[in-house]
Amino acid sequence: MEEQKQPVALESSAPVIGPGHSFATVTDKISAIVLTRPTSTGWFVGFGVAFLLTMMMLFAIGYLFVRGTGIWGITIPIGWGFAIVNFVWWIGIGHAGTLISAILLLLRQSWRNSINRFAEAMTLFAVSAAGIFPLIHVGRPWLAYWLFPYPNTMNYWPQFRSPLVWDVFAVSTYFTISLLFWFVGLVPDLATLRDRSQSRPAQIIYGMLALGWRGSARHWHRYETAYLLLAGLATPLVLSVHTVVSFDFAVGIVPGWHTTIFPPYFVAGAIYSGFAMVLMLAIPIRKLYGLEDFITERHLQNSAKVMLATGLIVAYGYAIEAFMGWYSGNRYDAFTLWNRLHGPYAIPYWALLICNIFVPQVLWIRKLRTSPPALFLISGVILVGMWLERFIIVVVSLHRDFLTSSWGMYYPTRWDWMTYIGTIGMFLAAMFLFVRILPMISIFEMRTLLPEAEVKPE
């Protein structure tokens, strides 16, 4: 754990934590945001808007249940539209959190300590947003529970060869594990809040959630083991989730879906968009709550580098897809490639290439890697690009498949847009609440980064 103790780590870049901090300052600064700092009007405005968007989503979904999926733009042959696009997009975003907390933990990337907490929160909210779509996109949502194996009067079961059933298991597992991971991480900090808070209700609530944590050495020991084990479990899990999501397509025979490259480049894409979202949240937050000392240039740098790397993997994925389209000699795959480049949806495709491949290349430039505004912008571009990627995969592959006679077009309706934007609102609303009532940075893990945390050998 050498570098963990070294503020000035591998790189001569900024430290993971600002100078002049002690256990006390770290603790106070972070817990203050929740306990003492007055809630800004900005927070209320932001939360209000997000909340209204959430209501809009609920309205759209309500109407959907009344009238049926026909209010959306989907049709035959394009049986899946925005719902699945958004589902994959959100799930992808939901990958950063667990990745940061689990994989980087295993890799002993101590800089993660200051961003993992809200990255995990972000994951949970993103996965919840994603989870909405598969549920509401079915024709008879009130029967969606048939996807779970339970003893029923029909003596009939889910069909386990279907990737959709795999989805159900993968996503619910992912959500559960992420939740546990997040909560376990929270327990010691909740104890901190319990002991810091002045108001009785706060003490009781935080106290209850802290489960009576008292920082006993035995507890810490088991805690660390469990935390490490969880990380070990979450790592293959996070990789598996988007692999399974990619199976939804790869298992199908639709040209543009039926390809083996999908799992790796879906996972890469997921991390790609995940980090983009993390930055889009981290940059404003650190500014608004003055956390530049904890979320330093270093973090932005590293995230940018991760994006650059995953972005290149994604680019490779596109390249291979295109290559196989031509190389396979399969007339349908070849046409799918042509259709993406020249068909009616050519513009989204080119836009996707620009957003996901060309723009992010500027991250090679150190200056931009370290400039928050630039990163914020680029992250936005990447999120749009990743959404477009899913649109291309889902819609453009479906709209022209084998029989020319049954080719069609897809036009999203206002209900599609309302539901999509609504989920963004829901996501933000949750984030607003989170930063207000829970420590958005893992306090106890920050403490371990301080020099004084070191135990001097006698």
Partner: protein
């Protein structure tokens, strides 16, 4: 500084175990409800315009099923007797029993009696009486001891698992064709053997297996295919 009272330790644990138990219990309750007579109407007599007693007519007077349910051997639908069938006798006997007024009224006015359907399958299930009769499934195998029912109710749950129970092992229930309408028929036993083609059977399984062959039943895979009942 102590926030909580000692007791909270016990309480908090109790709540955790309690929650787990509650969830499990409610799930179990729902599954039970699905199979309960409240949902299936099993063994629950329906309100009828006339309190017609199968017990009296079948056991008491020994009227054959087919006297009223005329199309049971030839059609998917067993048939509900027209008012005329009732009047065949009741123009002679019980001619002014107040109970039978609705029947007489129907016959006079020509307005049909409106019964409440007893054995009512969902509309997406297609059941055919004639083929079951033909393959040696007795009336009371599904309808129960009708000759003992003062008021009619459906004997079984009529749920898919119940249908499958027999479709997966028809030999458990088959009987010789000539016994299909016999309400008193009992499955073969040492005491009451059943003879078929001169052969004596003392247990249902061997009889059933032979009948499956004799009546050329389709394979279990065949009769558990979805389109056997759903289309």
């Amino acid at each position: 500084m102590q926030i909580f009272h000692r007791s909270t330790n016990t309480i908090s644990r109790a709540t955790i175990y309690g929650a787990i138990f509650m969830v499990a219990a409610s799930l179990w309750a729902v599954l039970e409800l699905q199979r309960s007579p409240y949902i299936t109407y099993a063994k629950v007599a329906r309100p009828q315009p006339v309190p017609f007693s199968h017990q009296h007519h079948v056991a008491g007077l020994g009227i054959d099923c087919r006297y009223c349910h005329t199309s049971v051997e030839t059609s998917s639908f067993a048939g509900i007797p027209p008012t005329r069938t009732c009047m065949n006798c009741h123009s002679q006997i019980w001619t002014n029993a107040p109970l039978l007024e609705p029947v007489r009224d129907s016959f006079r006015s020509g307005k049909s009696l409106v019964w409440t359907r007893v054995n009512d399958l969902p509309d997406f299930v297609y059941f055919d009486h004639s083929i079951h009769i033909n393959k040696g499934v007795g009336c009371n195998t599904c309808h129960g001891p009708v000759d003992g029912m003062p008021l009619m109710f459906n004997y079984a749950s009529l749920q898919m698992e119940w249908c499958l129970d027999c479709h997966r092992a028809p030999q458990k229930n088959l009987r010789p064709r000539d016994q299909v309408f016999n309400m008193r028929y009992e499955q073969p036993s040492i005491l009451k053997p059943v003879t078929l083609d001169g052969k004596e059977y003392t247990d249902q399984l061997s009889l059933g297996t032979d009948l499956v062959k004799k009546y050329k039943l389709r394979t279990v895979a065949d009769i558990t295919s979805c389109s056997t009942c759903h289309r």
